[in-house]
Subunit: 238 residues, 2 copies
Amino acid sequence: MQKREITINCTLCDHLKDSLFNGLQPEDLARINNHKTCIQYKKGQNIFYEGTRPTGLFCINGGKVKVFKNNVQGREFIFYLAKPGDFLGYRALLSEELYGATATVIEDAKICFIQKENFFEVLQRNPVFMKRVVKQVCLQMGIMEERMAELAHKSVRERLAGTLLMLKESYGMEGGESVLLDIALSREDWASLIGTATETVIRLLSDFKADELISFEGKKIRVLDAKGLAKQADLILA
Amino acid sequence: MQKREITINCTLCDHLKDSLFNGLQPEDLARINNHKTCIQYKKGQNIFYEGTRPTGLFCINGGKVKVFKNNVQGREFIFYLAKPGDFLGYRALLSEELYGATATVIEDAKICFIQKENFFEVLQRNPVFMKRVVKQVCLQMGIMEERMAELAHKSVRERLAGTLLMLKESYGMEGGESVLLDIALSREDWASLIGTATETVIRLLSDFKADELISFEGKKIRVLDAKGLAKQADLILA
DNA sequence: GGTAAAACATGACTTTTGTCAGCCTTTAAC
DNA sequence: GTTAAAGGCTGACAAAAGTCATGTTTTACC
């Protein structure tokens, strides 16, 4: 399993339009584009490791990545799931700390790496871009607060239902009534995502399936009854 | 209980040296200083409310504040405890969202308010200050990630012990062997801070007291045996 | 295509934590 | 100072979730 270098052009990137880099001055984008390296990763490969020093920023062009932390007993908690267009590793880069989490590919991926010097230079001479980055970080932080409050006070069942609905927003593929979640997570990943044991996830997913709230399609899940899940998640129905 | 306006001079502020505003150009600091308003709050008063629009930034000159969110069942989760020198409300301000949490005074406080126009102006024309703000936000986010992982996988007992040690760092007053936590939290606040029920906190604090890890001094707690608490928190002992 | 490993599933049991009820103590208000 | 309210405490019990053991299915690899 070795890394394979590939060529990707930012200006032609499908994900540019909804990325942080959208609207960048052509010369700034060119600077980023000309100095980056892009690598093809296979499922299971790591992009960066907790405890190591960041040397740049990652931008996902294809595939899916999980960002997680291992606790003392080796149990994993997933902070983020990232998909094409998302950036990785900017938190530790901007706080000038070591990585606080590990990033692992969960679906074969193409990822560009932007050295920190280039990123910081564009950041420095472009206050509008800087403001966008700050806004992005603060938005992300708001999401974390929300999730933390749920972790503190909601049951595992509620959290699982809520997470299914959340993934429906980010990874849902419309298909009439039901929505297929276009992300292949193992039961163990689900457990790491909602903060529980694998067995508990298995039992609850079976419950949801028995109640016809979801169905399984290979390693992916189809949401059949979003309203029913919202009830399970104890959300106020609009 | 009405708010009382007072006068505070930033340039003479005890907390300037360890604040985000330290090292600001004199004219920038003057701008902040001349346009702020300072108010004296009593315990129990609110500084801002979840769901309302931020109009500026708060800076604590004296007293203590909790920042929390209420869930549907009215249960509260405390995101931050803030003390003199700390800033409040910048997250929602920078992400241009409504406040995601409520801030309430827990010990009588003096708090300065900086209108967003002035804050943004200083931010805009001072890239070094901007970088400091970004770094601060990202550091805070790292702390949140850490806490979230603990919430996901540690027991209430471990979290309580860990929180006692954390507060020892931020609010500890040295006194020989033992350390007094200089913050008066109700049992309910402790429960909101670690994400559990009040009764559970009461029982565990009694346990810790019986094991002579802590003692009670009025509404405050004295840490008698930090190493013992670290063992309870399941931390690796250095 | 066969085999080992990983992932998935289920049952039995234990532990942790939440809930409810009741009571005592301190604080705040009239 | 009396009274109400809030906060603190304890016990009994129930519910939720974790753990362990075991078996089955799927996947990956030689």
